[in-house]
């Protein structure tokens, strides 16, 4: 078989005016700005809810995992492995299209997406908390125990509050990932930012809605990324 380079380039279409027309057709955006804005809110609310619930569940998982009881740490480990070791896309499709087979049906798309994103992010958050907690000097636990606190009390009043400060930068990064991951929920039909842009792109045969969606993602993610970097630098200075 003769080799054919699988990329074609059509110089006639690669003109500045065509690029502008295809990617920056502001008319398309102005006509549909409400739709896109609404979809952007869905994305933000979904990510925020999933992050908050993921932090709660993730903290529980982290505490289960670092505890001495195998009865608690083994299930936590299995959970974390499963959710970190399978693609989010598979998890979403499974939760929406496959759980009804055994009688668990989630009717609300938003809720289905929320469940999938929460379960997924909890696994990553758990690992962030675990490493945060384990980074606290052993002496803190010993000091707590020596002053008469129980293991649980020491955790709650001494270790976890200190760990919380250290995990804020990685948690912020996790939140950025989560915002971007909400786009994967579009496969089940939720009209978040990406699906909304795709519906508009297919209706107008113009790529500008996709560009607009990308700009929305950037507008929310970039500040968070720089915030996380700044927090990390400040934390490092204090530790050093």
């Amino acid at each position: 078989m003769p080799f054919e380079w699988p990329v074609e380039f059509d110089p006639s279409r690669f003109s500045p005016s065509n690029v502008q027309e295809q990617y920056l057709d502001f008319g398309v955006i102005f006509d549909n700005f409400d739709t896109l804005l609404q979809a952007f809110f869905v994305t933000i609310v979904l990510a925020l809810c999933a992050e908050l619930l993921g932090i709660v569940l993730g903290l529980v998982l982290a505490l289960m995992k670092i505890g001495r009881s195998k009865l608690l740490s083994a299930p936590a480990q299995v959970y974390i492995d499963v959710f970190r070791g399978t693609p989010l896309l598979v998890q979403i499709i499974f939760i929406y299209f496959a759980t009804p087979n055994i009688g668990i049906r989630i009717e609300s798309l938003f809720f289905a997406g929320l469940v999938a994103l929460t379960l997924n992010s909890a696994a990553y958050v758990a690992e962030i908390f675990r490493s945060g907690i384990q980074s606290i000097d052993k002496g803190q636990m010993e000091a707590g125990r020596a002053s008469g606190l129980t293991y649980a009390q020491t955790m709650r009043h001494i270790i976890v509050p200190q760990a919380f400060r250290r995990v804020i930068p990685p948690l912020t990064n996790e939140f950025v990932m989560l915002i971007k991951d909400t786009s994967i929920v579009s496969v089940i039909g939720l009209e978040e930012l990406l699906r909304s842009a795709r519906v508009l792109q297919s209706a107008t045969a113009n790529a500008t809605p996709l560009v607009a969606a990308a700009l929305f993602y950037l507008a929310i993610c970039l500040p968070l990324i720089y915030l996380a970097n700044g927090l990390e630098r400040r934390l490092n200075r204090r530790v050093a």
Binding site: M1, F3, P6, R13, F97, G189, E191, V199, S202, A203
Partner: protein
């Protein structure tokens, strides 16, 4: 040191070799060859029975039989590429495919961007619901959730009903009609607006669980799609006319739709 460096680089070479082989293998079918007894690249959303579906890894269906027959007469071999429906028009405009057959309705909006063959199928839209549903017609949808496939005339129609106020609930888009059927069967949506023959096919395989409660007459016609000014269009139209005239069309129709066509599209 030398050995470990080699050990690190070798897998990269193997990976590169495998990748270039894969690229070459795909490239063979993906080229934009035109005319003659050549392979032509045909885009299709191969999840739309009875028009296209997959059997033993090969595409089958009404559209496939029809285009294979057209190719035989016009002197080309269709190489089918499975793509999502909403990507077809864009791909044709960018010359990623030589043509597309995907139960695609000829609409004035689409015809502005791509060219169509003569019509090859008369279709209507339909309202599909579970058999135990209270919904008996479009007027009764109210705030129920209606599923459609992204970029289809079903989506356009559903949004028309929404604009008119017949549908007050959500119109939910899915990437493939199969996803929408799955959501309907799981009770996650209440109804589907989609091409009649495809919904009918789903009803036939549903053991009475689904039914079509309304045919939405749109009088739409499917066409084979081409990039603007394609040389292939003329040849395809001539072959298509032959097929309509000599009875082959009826044969293919009966095989996939299960009855004779009421009329052959002009």
């Amino acid at each position: 040191m030398v050995k470990s460096l080699f050990g690190r680089v070798l897998p990269l070479f193997v990976l590169a070799a495998v990748l270039s082989l894969a690229v070459a293998a795909c490239g063979g079918g993906g080229g934009g060859s035109q005319g003659g007894g050549e392979d032509v690249t045909v885009a299709s959303d191969i999840a739309y029975p009875p028009f296209e579906s997959e059997k033993d890894g090969e595409p089958v269906g009404f559209d496939i039989d029809l285009l294979d027959e057209i190719g035989k007469r016009a002197g080309f071999t269709p190489e089918y590429q499975n793509v999502t429906f909403d990507g077809i028009i864009n791909g044709l405009r960018n010359n990623q495919y030589d043509m597309a057959i995907s139960a695609m309705t000829i609409t004035p909006e689409r015809a502005e961007r791509i060219d169509f063959s003569d019509p090859y199928f008369n279709a209507d839209q339909s309202l599909l619901v579970p058999s135990d549903s209270d919904i008996g017609s479009v007027d009764e949808i109210g705030d129920a959730t209606v599923g459609v496939q992204i970029g289809t005339t079903g989506e356009i129609k559903a949004n028309e009903f929404k604009d008119r106020g017949d549908i007050t609930g959500e119109v939910r888009t899915f990437d493939t009609i199969e996803d929408a059927f799955a959501a309907l069967n799981n009770g996650q949506i209440d109804a589907i607006i989609n091409d009649l023959p495809v919904s009918q096919d789903e009803v036939n395989g549903s053991d009475g669980a689904l039914e079509i409660v309304q045919v939405i007459p749109t009088g739409e016609q499917y066409g084979i799609a081409f990039p603007k000014d394609s040389d292939l269009r003329q040849d395809v139209n001539e072959a298509l006319q032959e097929i309509k005239d000599d009875g082959t069309y009826e044969e293919i129709y009966k095989k996939w739709i299960g009855r004779a066509p009421k009329e052959i599209p002009e």
